[in-house]
């Protein structure tokens, strides 16, 4: 498109076109870097500031010594922490632990927790009501898996954290969302904050909460709530804005007070859309609760982490599958429940209300569990473990497939990854930032260029340039792979409507899995290192690529396809000349999403030993270096924001010429 523009312009205009000017600028810059002083190539010490230390000191002072109105911040945060610890503990007692009496060796369980039989049964009953037999079967299988493999107790600890966090995140998100809906000033502020929050990597939330609230469930709770908040706020605003004007008017005409209008008319009418946000919040919460086992959330995530640290792949995989099972149950059940709440379905004659049914069931099942032991807690002797099997499989793979895998690993490392990483590491920083700025200028003008330069300079100043380049290298390779795999699959699926149902199910499931789970198969095959990281990131980022490719292709107007067909275009010609150009904006946004997903996974991949920004955050977390953790996290956010800005500008450019030509 740019070429066509240029060819139409006269010689005079050619020189003033942004692309040409950007190229000239880059040529000048490279020769300056080539001939100029060393500081243009290597970041001089004078340019980096100990921002991390300063931030760290400030936060440490705040958390340890500051007082507000004579009250020590430390005491306040600890008080808040113990309050929430207490709440989580109560839920854990109900779901998983029961109440104990006595001390030392005489500890006895005075009151058992709700039995697995009661909880799982209640969930299956609810599933049957909300989603019919198929949903009930899915839930029964997943919950049965947790019981039989002895993961039930840990799963309930995780569930307890998820429940408390979700309720808190939803309540706060709803309030912020309503506030933003009512005032556009507030909306601008929250939107800005939430956009940055969504790009800040998951670990970075853990560091300051750890400092403020100490190791334990409530620190995990705060990190989780913060992390899960943005989609809830965003979706609340969107959902409220989507309420038809007529519905609001009908509420006013019936004489609703403002509060009645909001709570009884607008929110219920927005429920179907709100449900999307709630579901996202639940899934993000689960993801974060799993990660937050690092700072004391416990539960299934802790098993996976321990397994990863000890390279005990077998039990790691088992706990990982437990997480998957829990994720599937939470996702499907919450979706079905939200759908039911939003649309309603009348009770058939003789059907009990759900709450009566569940209450009745809990009573019966609890009594039954008191009588029949195995219904209370599944006997250890009956538990199945596949850990041995998986460990054997890993051993087998390492023995039998070692040559193949090792050859692949070495090829990838030596021929692709190392050279690329070395290239980026050696690239002069001025040239890298200059190129990004030039691209930004072409795509979106001076302001965008200034913005991107600012983000880049932040990384330079904070001294995280080298690990940041390492992140860029890992992201570039993973996203390239994910797009190369995902887009063709998406294109193919777009032409096969029948396969789309199944594909949608698989993609949904892949996208609901907590990030930690993706590390396991990669480590199983390729041990610790960059290759595993790239594979895990690629796996995680492929699902959005497939999805956007499908959506983009489906959006191509039918008339254009028919026109191409009548003109006698072959399938390839149609793809290249009709489909791809029409779908370009969506495809670019798809790449953007893929990059964002890749960033969120890349941080987790630090657990398998990368040398990038994620590793910096992880180290900071392990050593409680608050400032470093936050600043390195912000550097990741800067990288993500640069990509986001560039691709959104590109997508906007790809859309607008089409519109101006149509007019």
């Amino acid at each position: 498109m740019a070429h066509a523009d240029i060819s139409r312009q006269s010689g005079q205009q050619l020189w003033s076109s942004p692309s040409t000017r950007a190229l000239i600028f880059l040529a000048l810059l490279s020769s300056a870097v080539w001939l100029g002083p060393t500081w243009t190539r290597v970041i001089p010490d004078a340019l980096t500031f100990p921002i991390a230390t300063t931030v760290g000191d400030a936060l440490n002072w705040f958390a340890r010594e500051a007082t507000i109105n004579g009250l020590a911040v430390k005491d306040m945060t600890r008080a808040v922490a113990s309050f929430f610890d207490y709440i989580i503990e109560s839920v854990v007692i109900v779901l998983s632990k029961g109440i104990y009496t006595g001390r030392g060796l005489n500890v006895t369980q005075a009151v058992p927790p709700l039995s697995w039989f009661a909880i799982a049964g209640a969930m299956v009953i609810a599933a049957y009501r909300f989603g019919g037999r198929s949903l009930a079967v899915v839930c029964a299988v997943c919950l049965g898996f947790l019981v039989i493999f002895g993961l039930w107790e840990n799963a309930m600890v995780t569930l307890a954290s998820v429940l408390v966090s979700v309720l808190l995140a939803m309540a706060i998100g709803l309030i912020l969302g309503i506030w933003s809906y009512r005032s556009s000033n507030v909306e601008n502020v929250t939107r800005g904050i939430m956009n940055v929050m969504q790009t800040v990597p998951i670990f970075s939330y853990l560091v300051p909460t750890l400092l403020l609230f100490g190791y334990g469930p409530s620190a995990a709770l705060f990190a989780t709530v913060l992390y899960a908040l943005p989609p809830m706020v965003h979706n609340t605003v969107l959902a409220l804005k989507s309420v038809p004007a007529e519905v609001t008017e009908s509420g006013k005409m019936m004489g609703c007070h403002p509060r009645q209008l909001l709570w009884k008319v607008q929110l219920p009418a927005a429920l179907a859309k709100l449900a999307v946000g709630m579901n996202q919040t639940i899934m993000m919460t689960l993801n974060m609760v799993i990660i937050a086992s690092m700072i004391g959330a416990g539960g299934l995530g802790f098993d996976v982490l321990r397994a990863l640290r000890k390279l005990d792949i077998g039990s790691g995989l088992e706990a990982g599958m437990g997480i998957v099972a829990l994720a599937v149950v939470l996702d499907r059940l919450s979706q079905a429940a939200a759908h039911r709440a939003a649309h309603g379905q009348h009770r058939k004659p003789g059907q009990l209300p759900l709450w009566q049914l569940l209450a009745g069931w809990l009573v019966i099942a609890t009594v039954a569990a008191l009588v029949v032991g195995p219904l209370q807690s599944w006997p250890a002797a009956w538990q199945v473990s596949t850990a041995e099997f998986w460990n054997a499989a890993v051993t087998w793979i390492n023995k039998e497939l070692f040559d193949v895998l090792e050859a692949f690993r070495n090829f990838a490392l030596l021929s692709v990854m190392r050279p690329f990483s070395a290239f980026l590491a050696a690239a002069p920083w001025t040239l890298v930032i200059g190129s990004v700025a030039a691209l930004a200028c072409v795509l979106g003008g001076w302001r965008l260029a200034a913005l991107c330069t600012g983000f880049g300079m932040f990384i330079v100043i904070t001294g995280y340039w080298a690990p940041a380049m390492n992140s860029v290298y890992l992201i570039t390779i993973s996203v390239t792979l994910a797009v190369l795999m995902g887009y063709p699959i998406g294109f193919w699926l777009a032409t096969r409507p029948k396969a789309q149902g199944t594909a949608g199910f698989v993609l949904d499931t892949l996208q609901t899995l907590p990030t930690l789970v993706y590390l396991l198969p990669a480590v199983m095959l390729f041990r610790i290192g960059d290759v595993s990281a790239v594979i895990a990131v690629t796996l995680y980022a492929t699902a959005p690529a497939v999805r956007y490719a499908m959506v983009g292709m489906a959006q191509v107007p039918k008339a254009r396809l028919e026109a191409a067909e009548i003109a006698g275009a072959t399938r390839w010609q149609t793809l290249i000349w009709v489909r791809l150009p029409s779908a370009l904006p969506t495809l670019l946004i798809g790449i953007n999403q893929t990059i964002m997903m890749a960033f969120s996974m890349l941080i987790i991949a630090a657990l398998v030993g990368t040398k990038d920004l994620g590793q910096e955050v992880l180290i900071a977390l392990n050593r409680s270096l608050v400032g470093e953790g936050i600043v390195a996290g912000l550097c990741v956010a800067c990288l993500a924001l640069i990509c986001d800005a560039l691709l959104k500008a590109a997508a906007a450019r790809a859309t607008s010429p089409a519109r101006s030509r149509a007019q």
Partner: protein, 349 residues
């Protein structure tokens, strides 16, 4: 059917009085006043970048009257009906509802007026998806603080009134469009308002259902005798239900009159283009074309009612001699129609 309604409509008291009402989108009342107010012409408005959705609307609606507002899409129908309930704040003018100045009402008073005096039916039903039929119909009463047993009983009455018995616990998603609009109608009538606004209530329905619901509306109106403000862009629908029709063109009301007035004496080209396709015989009433009885004329051999439409009584024509008497139910003769006048209407477009 028509006769009864026409007879039951008292012509005396004014329910809604609308005086020089303007709605200019984009301008505050002060800005509008400063820029010239009601003196502004289309050009001046355009220069300011404002949209005058309603211009200088003046009319009275009598208690119990069915007042239909018609016009093309974008002519300002929805805006004007929303001004009458202050869902949209008029930019200028005065609106009296049962004698009280609506635009001076405080928010609490306005809420009270809407709760007790007004009901509204919407084009896309505007039902709450999370409440069943009973819940939706009882909702306006519930928010007024009525005890559950009471509002449910009242809602059940309304369900029966609109013929949805047996579906009380169905949710909107489980109902057809026509059924949903019946719920919308029942809900708007639940608090027994005196004034009933309907904004294109049947436009989203297919023709057969639409016709059913029009009949239903007439039946209800005969029973309840509300003051009805009904918006439509369908002239057939307007003629079928209206006592009077107001025709809007680009925010201005260009003519107000009975269906016959509009067809027999269109005020301008716009109106006559609207009414051109309508068969006159289906609109014109016997009393409109009758003339006084001449003393020397012979006895009429056939009779029609004064409000009978000409097309409906064509049978009579076959049996008659030259003269047809126009006689009301009490047996009083109002006038006569000669065969020729009758046929002229039948033959006319």
């Amino acid at each position: 059917m028509m006769d009864m309604r026409a007879q039951s409509a008292p012509v005396s008291t004014t329910s809604i009085k609308c005086e020089n009402v303007w709605k200019v989108f984009g301008a505050t009342p002060a800005e509008f006043e400063q820029a010239g107010g009601p003196e502004m012409d289309a050009e001046a408005l355009q220069r300011k970048g404002w949209t005058a959705a309603v211009r200088d609307a003046t009319f009275d609606i009598s208690t119990g009257e069915v007042f239909v507002i018609m016009g093309l899409s974008g002519s300002g129908k929805s805006t004007i009906v929303r001004c009458l309930s202050r869902l949209i704040e008029p930019t200028n003018g005065r609106i009296l509802v049962e004698g009280a100045d609506l635009l001076k009402a405080s928010p609490a008073e306005l809420n009270d007026i809407r709760r007790r005096k007004m009901g509204m039916v919407f084009q896309h039903f505007a039902l709450l998806p999370n409440r069943n039929v009973l819940g939706n119909i009882g909702f306006p009463l519930q928010i007024q603080g009525m005890p559950r047993a009471e509002y449910e009983a009242r809602a059940r009455e309304m369900v029966e009134l609109v013929g949805l018995k047996g579906r009380e616990d169905h949710f909107p998603d489980e109902l057809s469009g026509g059924q949903q609009q019946r719920v919308g109608i029942a809900r708007s009538l639940a608090s027994d308002p005196a004034i009933w606004f309907l904004d294109e209530p049947f436009s989203a329905l297919d023709p057969l259902i639409r016709s059913d619901l029009q009949d239903e509306l007439l039946r209800l109106q005969q029973q309840l005798a509300k003051t009805v403000v009904f918006i439509t862009h369908d002239l057939d629908e307007a003629i079928k239900i209206a006592d009077r029709i107001a025709i809007m063109e680009e925010g201005r009301i260009v003519q107000i009159g009975s269906p016959e007035d509009l067809i027999l004496h269109p005020a301008n080209d716009y109106v006559s283009r609207f009414t051109r396709g309508v068969p006159r015989a289906k609109v014109v009433r016997a009393k409109t074309i009758m003339r006084p009885v001449d003393a020397d004329e012979g006895e009429a051999t056939a009779f029609v009612g004064p409000n009978d439409r000409i097309a409906d009584v064509a049978e009579v024509l076959l049996q008659s001699g030259n003269l047809i008497a126009v006689r009301d139910d009490a047996g009083r003769t109002h006038g006569v129609i000669d065969r020729e006048a009758f046929i002229r209407v039948l033959a006319g477009a």
